[in-house]
């Protein structure tokens, strides 16, 4: 089954590298905005996970397109995933400890070391 010539002309057969990089860029900026503007501490941790995933997409895209034989980017991605898991565990433990002491998860009230 073939598409109409216009649609067939606009749809490439393979995904360009720039597509993956653009998705990663948008995801990273979304994560940064959420990191700055979230008032719930759990959402801040989620934004950090979004940023880490954006970096992972970048590493995987470069590994596949520019380093197809020695896929070092994939090894780096494995390490990033490991560190992200450790970060999430420790971050949520810190969050629980904070919640027990301050009875809130509002980021604006975690200002003990601010001034």
């Amino acid at each position: 089954m073939s598409l109409s010539p216009v649609l067939a002309f606009t749809l490439p057969a393979t995904v360009p590298l720039q597509g993956f990089l653009a998705v990663a860029a948008v995801l990273f900026c979304t994560g940064v905005w959420g990191l700055i503007n979230s008032r719930n501490a759990v959402r801040v941790l989620m934004s950090i996970e979004l940023m880490l995933n954006a970096v992972n997409i970048n590493l995987m895209a470069f590994s596949s397109y520019l380093d197809g034989q020695l896929i070092r980017g994939q090894v780096f991605t494995i390490f990033v995933i490991t560190v992200a898991a450790a970060e999430a565990a420790v971050g949520l433990a810190i969050l629980l400890s904070l919640y027990r002491n301050r009875e809130t998860v509002d980021m604006e009230r975690f200002n003990l070391l601010r001034w």
Binding site: M1, S2, L3, P5, A8, L11, P12, T14, L17, Q18, G19, A22, V23, V26, L27, F28, C29, T30, G31, W33, N37, A41, V42, R43, L45, M46, E49, L50, N56, I57, M60, S63, S64, Y65, G68, Q69, I71, Q74, V75, I78, F79, T82, V83, A85, A86, A88, V90, A93, I94, L95, L96, S97, R100, N101, R102, E103, T104, V105, D106, L112
Partner: protein
């Protein structure tokens, strides 16, 4: 003439990208944090689909197991443990702050996209290893990346012990004077927040319990 099978990869990429981007927007913008957490799981799944498009089945499986299976579940548990309805205090200039940070993020996005589309990448690179990726990752992990691999295991052990120590409750299970069993719920209610008090002396926890 192109058939739809030829551009399946591209259509999959478009669908997965849309899932990632709209899911991420939902994670950041939705007011209910439980919806945000479930959307975050969807974003992780879509990202692992993108890894499958990049011929990396092992990393896709690792992403699915670690992010969706471990990190997302951990976040859901944290939400259940700290989920208290609280009215947030009004911060002056919050809207201005949001607009300014949005402008900064949009500028960063423009910069990244400009670098993305103007840099002459060294394409095409060497041919992709395809299904041999898992074997190659194993070779890397046990030859030239052996030291980071071992350090990662030490890091995971440290994170596990640290998380347990941080999240543990430091309360006595029995009354220190009479020796009778303490009511855990009562301890939680009568305990004053430690950081609010001016003097940081350790208070006897069971003073107020009958």
């Amino acid at each position: 003439m192109m058939s739809i099978a030829d551009s399946t990869q591209f259509l999959c990429f478009l669908a997965l990208s849309a899932a990632v981007l709209f899911g991420a927007l939902g994670v950041v913008l939705l007011p209910n944090i439980v919806y945000s957490a479930f959307l975050l799981g969807g974003v992780f799944l879509a990202v692992s689909g993108l890894y499958l498009l990049l011929n990396a089945s092992f990393v896709a499986a690792a992403q699915m197991m670690i992010y969706v299976g471990a990190v997302n579940v951990l976040i859901l548990f944290a939400i259940m443990l700290v989920n208290k309805k609280e009215t947030l205090a009004v911060i002056p200039g919050l809207a201005l702050r949001r607009i300014l940070s949005g402008a900064v993020c949009a500028g960063l996005l423009g910069l990244l996209l400009r670098v993305d589309f103007t840099t002459p990448w060294a394409l095409p690179g060497p041919p992709s290893i395809g299904d041999g990726a898992t074997i190659r990752i194993g070779e890397h992990l046990f030859s030239d990346y052996l030291l980071p691999f071992e350090l990662a295991s030490v890091l995971l052990l440290m994170a596990m012990i640290g998380a347990i120590v941080l999240a543990r409750r430091d309360v006595f299970t029995s009354d220190v004077i009479t020796g009778e069993e303490a009511d855990q719920g009562l301890i939680e209610k009568t305990r004053t927040p430690l950081l609010i008090k001016k003097n940081l002396q350790i208070q006897p926890l069971l003073e107020k319990t009958p």
